[in-house]
């Protein structure tokens, strides 16, 4: 039996004005378990807290009910008071007789009656309270960043600068991501490589950062502060620590017909390659799909010319196991496939390209060394048509496009149009738009400059059809403001393809038990207030894997994610919320219902040995809650058909007791 003390607060006249506090403390005296009951002007004041502390000592109280303001105001205060007097803080319950009683009722009689019932409910609950101790778990002071684009780079740099070791895992042979492929960046038009490559070098040289390039995460176990991760380092057939990045092998390689991914397949690269001059790590990689030596053992030229002796045809995939305290997903995006858009003739003509391909065409390090030339015949295009929203805002067919706005296309199209007119003033540039969306610092000014100063023809309407005729592209489009159908003879058509999350994101989310939306973007813990955290504790989100973003937004989110990771790694121990789910193993029938509803993946099943009544032992499958991961929502308690699952602090019996007290 508990020994409960009841403390009724007047809150000056806030409560005492409509509730007879004397009557309340008197009425609660006779409740089961109550051994002491009093009232005071301000319970939260130092004098009020002393009353509570003294009563705990004097009456050997095991539980406390404070009838006062909302627990959202002072529950923490009174829990501290109890703890200071040696009582478990979770033996304190608050009856909310201010916000939910005295302030909404004008009549003393009704206010008092309701306050007594609320007090009784709290007493009934405390009678069933049990002391709770928050669990503690250690924190591995190392972070994992998955993805080495600008988002992953920024997150890793910020965490590393705070003094914590960071590993970056990147599937490609180099970090840099999509930003490394870009030419200029809006709205300031500084060159992407000029601002990105110094950061890549910083990453390479940072003592706290390790880069696992050409690698991928294959398994994630554990929980916040204690993740166990397996990383597969794919065989690149080049010893990373020996290769000097001189590039002789790439020059001598006789097999030069592999499509160059970095240039969006618009030119070819050798079978042994370094993606681009500023690659980090600057190490060659052999493509096993094209290397003659690896395919049929006939060549071996690269090994002969390599003075460092870095080539190793026998290299195998390697699995690295490492522990991490926090994981950041920064898996980025890709443009969607244009295969379903027959009307734009993307697969029929080389001169219909996507914006990312256009980006490579205008990049000084690209296939044309920065000269804007048609991919088909290398001629200079005189009429260029840009089509926006190709696959974005497309609700008609899920296989074709995406329902969301890809956010970055309006600005990069304005950039492409402006730069084209700047370099080649003899070119006619048309941009077909549905809406021009330019919310962002200096964004609309940038777009207007493209129109007003550079004379880009912005036409409200959409392109309906592109048909190759000879060496021209016939573009049929509508001009909605003129209410005309246009027929433009173009040399080059550029499609602003929608962007979608990288394909690796979905399996990664499954490994991390992080939730995703229907578009395969990672879901944030709260759309407004916790935008860089995943609902799964210890998993953070950086960049476009969470939603379409431009570079400034990506970098700010990357730094925000880093700040959250630093906050986590700075702790030596994680104190959990003790109000977590708990399974009674003797009642659990191993049905997995709870596991399926848990939004955090906190419940796993284990095979346990039990002693049976007849002295035999039996192995049974039972639920086990990871208290470090459980957030205490209670969804599992209701899903459990056998009633084995219960929630500490809000036990079935406690809530039932409250119901009983209220309905009495």
């Amino acid at each position: 039996m508990q020994r409960i003390g009841v403390f009724v607060c007047w809150c000056g006249s806030n409560i005492a004005g409509t509730v007879d506090v004397e009557a309340v403390s008197e009425a609660l005296k006779s409740e089961p378990g109550v051994v002491f009951s009093t009232n005071y002007q301000y319970m939260c004041s130092q004098a009020g807290q002393d009353i509570i502390k003294n009563a705990i000592a004097e009456h050997k109280l095991t539980g406390i009910v404070v009838c006062s303001c909302s627990p959202r105001m002072h529950e923490a205060t009174f829990r501290k008071t109890a703890a200071a007097a040696g009582l478990n803080p979770y033996m304190v319950e608050i009856a909310n007789i201010r916000e939910q009683c005295s302030w909404i009722h004008k009549d003393m009689a009704t206010g008092t009656e309701k306050a007594i019932i609320l007090g009784k409910a709290a007493v009934a609950k405390v009678n069933l309270n049990a002391p709770l101790t928050p669990g503690e778990s250690p924190v591995t002071k190392r972070a994992l960043v998955i993805g080495g684009g600008i988002a992953g780079i920024q997150t890793a740099l910020d965490i590393a600068d705070a003094g914590f070791p960071v590993d970056i895992v990147e599937t490609k042979p180099t970090i840099g991501g999509k930003m490394a492929q870009l030419d200029k960046t809006f709205p300031t038009l500084d060159c992407a490589a000029c601002i990105l490559t110094p950061k890549m070098v910083d990453v390479a040289q940072h003592e706290n950062i390790r880069i696992f390039s050409y690698s991928e995460v294959v398994e994630v176990g554990g929980f916040v502060g204690n993740f166990d991760v397996k990383i597969k380092k794919k065989a690149r057939y080049v010893k990373e620590d020996v290769c000097t990045g001189c590039g002789i092998c790439t020059e001598k390689c006789p097999m030069k017909k592999a499509p160059n991914e970095f240039n969006m397949g618009m030119d070819n690269r050798p079978a042994v390659y370094i993606p681009f001059a500023q690659a980090v790590p600057k190490v060659a990689t052999i493509d096993p799909n094209y290397c003659n030596m690896l395919k049929n053992g006939k060549c071996g030229l690269c090994a002969k010319v390599c003075t460092a002796g870095a080539i190793d045809y026998t290299q195998k995939d390697e699995i690295i196991e490492e522990k991490y305290g926090a994981i950041v997903a920064a898996t980025g995006f890709n443009p969607i496939s244009m295969d379903k858009f027959d009307e734009y003739a993307y697969n029929q003509s080389k001169d219909v390209i996507t914006s990312l391909e256009f980006e490579r065409l205008t990049n000084a390090a690209g296939p044309t060394a920065g000269k804007l030339l048609r991919p088909s015949d290398g001629e200079h295009p005189h009429t260029i048509v840009f089509v926006q929203c190709v696959g974005s805002r497309c609700a008609a067919c899920a296989e074709k496009g995406k329902e969301y706005c890809s956010k970055i296309c309006c600005m990069y199209t304005a950039k492409h149009a402006m730069l084209t007119r700047d370099k080649y003033p003899d070119t006619d540039v048309y941009v077909f738009y549905i809406d021009v969306r330019t919310p962002g610092k200096s964004f609309d000014e940038f777009y207007r400059r493209a129109v007003e100063e550079y004379g880009v023809h912005y036409i409200k309407g959409m392109v309906g059809k592109v048909s190759p005729e000879g060496n021209k592209l016939m573009v049929q489009a509508s001009d909605l403001l003129a209410n005309k159908q246009l027929h433009i003879e173009a040399d080059l058509v550029v499609l602003a393809a929608a962007i979608e999350p990288d394909k690796s994101a979905r399996p990664l989310a499954t490994m991390l038990t992080a939730s995703m939306d229907t578009n395969d973007f990672f879901t944030e813990a709260h759309p407004k207030l916790r935008p860089v955290e995943s609902p799964t504790a210890g998993v953070f989100l950086s960049g476009t894997c969470q939603g379409p973003k431009d570079i400034p937004e990506t970098v700010s989110q990357a730094s925000a994610a880093a700040a959250k990771v630093i906050g986590l790694l700075a702790k030596d121990k994680l104190t959990g919320n003790p109000c977590v789910a708990h399974s009674d193993e003797l009642m659990c029938n191993g049905c997995s219902s709870c596991e399926r509803v848990c939004p955090y993946g906190a419940i796993t099943y284990v095979d346990k040995e039990f002693r049976m009544p007849d002295r035999t032992t039996a192995i049974r499958r039972v639920a086990s809650v990871n208290t470090a991961v459980c957030q205490g929502c209670g969804a599992c308690t209701v899903a459990c058909p056998s009633g084995a699952m219960d929630l500490n602090g809000f036990k079935n019996a406690q809530i039932m007791a409250e119901v009983d007290a209220i309905c009495k």
């Binding site: 909302s70 627990p71 959202r72 909310n96 201010r98 916000e99 939910q100 009683c101 302030w103 909404i104 009722h105 004008k106 009704t110 206010g111 009656e113 309701k114 019932i117 609320l118 409910a121 939730s515 879901t523 813990a525 709260h526 759309p527 609902p535 109000c579 509803v597 939004p599 957030q631 205490g632 929502c633 209670g634 969804a635 308690t637 209701v638 899903a639 929630l647 809000f650 079935n652 809530i655 039932m656 409250e658 119901v659 009983d660 209220i662 309905c663 009495k664």
Partner: protein
């Protein structure tokens, strides 16, 4: 509140800790009156409410039960309120079959900013339940002392 010759319905309101309980507090802060017959029980999430609690309330003589949670998509625990919505749709239709009119049970989304909505909802719910009169269908007379 007195309707039907002084008859006062007993109403149990389950409020989630993050949105609706805060919404109820806000109603108090703004001194928005609603009937004293409404007594609030705090739960971490609306999905903590076991159908058992609702049956118990009716068994013990409650006349109406209302569940308040975060708006869909705003749940502190991501998906708890979706579970609530599905579970209660089933429970309420079963209760309706048993003779507990569906007006006596309700799920309402109240955010922490919607003090006015909380008070208005409670006023309206109380009136609806009062008009239906006392719940005798599930009440267990053995529970009366």
């Amino acid at each position: 509140m007195q309707v039907n010759n002084g008859y006062q319905p007993k109403i149990v309101a389950f409020c989630c800790n993050w949105c609706s309980y805060a919404g109820a507090d806000l109603a108090g802060n703004n001194r928005l009156a609603y009937p004293e017959n409404v007594k609030i029980i705090k739960v971490p999430c609306s999905c903590r409410v076991n159908p058992m609690f609702i049956l118990r309330a009716f068994q013990r003589g409650a006349d109406g039960v209302i569940l308040c949670g975060c708006h869909p998509g705003d749940c502190h625990y991501t998906s708890g309120n979706y579970y609530t919505r599905r579970r209660m749709a089933l429970l309420f239709s079963m209760l309706n079959f048993l003779g507990i009119e569906k007006e006596r049970t309700r799920v309402e989304w109240v955010s922490a900013a919607e003090g006015a909505k909380f008070a208005a909802t409670m006023n309206e719910f109380c009136e609806t339940v009062a008009a239906l009169g006392e719940n005798k269908r599930l009440e267990d007379l053995r529970c009366k002392r």
